[in-house]
């Protein structure tokens, strides 16, 4: 099977951030995203709300450049005040080129 090497960016954040995160990762070049409800604990004892269904996990498959931009953005705007964790995994995606945006294609 021919696959394309992409980056999977995973962001776990307070549920209240979901609309904003989705808006922003799309603006930064992601062609899609997948969200699921999760719960967890980290260094921050306090939680923003006990009603917002805890945390969300947002995953998006993107090219390396877009991945970088998303992480930069999240680190710059969310880490200080919100409960957020973000990481990247290398993945091999079937028909992966359709998840690349133009900016990702150029450098490679």
């Amino acid at each position: 099977m021919i696959t394309v090497a992409l980056k999977k960016v995973t962001i776990i954040a307070e549920a209240v951030l979901e609309p904003r995160l989705i808006r922003e990762i799309r603006a930064l070049g992601a062609t899609g995203y997948t969200v699921s409800e999760v719960r967890g604990e980290g260094s921050r004892g306090v939680r923003a709300s006990d009603w917002e269904g805890d945390n969300v996990k947002v995953e998006t498959l993107v090219g390396a450049g877009t991945a970088d931009r998303i992480l930069e953005h999240v680190a710059a705007t969310c880490f200080e005040h919100y409960a957020v964790i973000a990481w990247v995994t290398d993945v091999q995606v079937v028909r992966g080129d359709k998840y690349l945006n133009p900016s990702d294609r150029e450098p490679s």
């Binding site: 209240v16 409800e37 306090v46 923003a48 006990d50 269904g53 805890d54």
Partner: protein
Amino acid sequence: MDMLELVRLNLLSPIILAFVLGIVATLVRSDLKFPEPLYTALSIYLLLAIGLKGGAALSETSLAALGGPALATLGLGIAVPLWSYAIVRRVGRMSVADAAALAAHYGSVSVVTFIAALSFLDAARIGHEGFLPTLVALLEVPAIIVALLLARLRGGAGRGSWGTVLHEVLAGRSILLLLGGLVIGAASGTAGLARVAPFFVAPFQGALVLFLLEMGMVAARRFRDLRTAGAFLLAFGVGMPLLHGVLGVWLGSVAGLSLGGSTVLGVMAASASYIAAPAAVRIALPEANPGYYLTAALAITFPFNLTVGIPVYFAVAQWMHAGGTG
């Protein structure tokens, strides 16, 4: 009924006991968990039910009767956050963001506390105006806007355009369901309400038992934050409701509300929002610490009002209405 009897009547009601059971469940680390969809379903139900009943009552109320109480409510919504902010800044010496956050919560209203007050009056067989839910809708939003404005003026608000914030508050689910219920209730009238009453009216008290069971668990999970909250927050969380409760009762009496209605306006003023306000504040004032505002609203003020506050405001109302039914 004297004060102690009122408190006893209140404490032994199924909803308060369910709240206590929820606290116990958390303290003994029971594996009892409320599925999140059940919590959401119950809150949709309660908000819509309150709206429908209020709307049907509204369809039979003259606007004149509503005028005074509505003005009083709006006045509370604008004034309460102002002095709440000042007190937190001056006495509590907290940051601008934290002060504005607390002001938003205490100026707004807790729908569940409001419902508990209605339930208390029902048990004590005290009547009240049917349009009171309309006042809840009026009280929910202004304080949040005033408090966020304050934060901006004092340079404490970090993020979010006004558009986003206003949208968050006005299209938030609690306002939408409450207002929506009011409109549906008013448009379909008492005949319409009668058709849905076996769902939205009769089982209401029982559904509230389930909801308060969950609220007890949620509040108790915040108890460990009390240690870090400090003496000021404790005093604030008990003192402000008492102050606002008496003020609300008085304003209600002046505005022509009945004994029951004045009690409820007192409870509304005394209560601190923990649905609309936290969501808006978390977005618009991320630098404010939820460990302060949510803990105060949920782990201090809410239990206080539920157990002691409501009978106290009622006793004050009785006294103001010069011997009411007591």
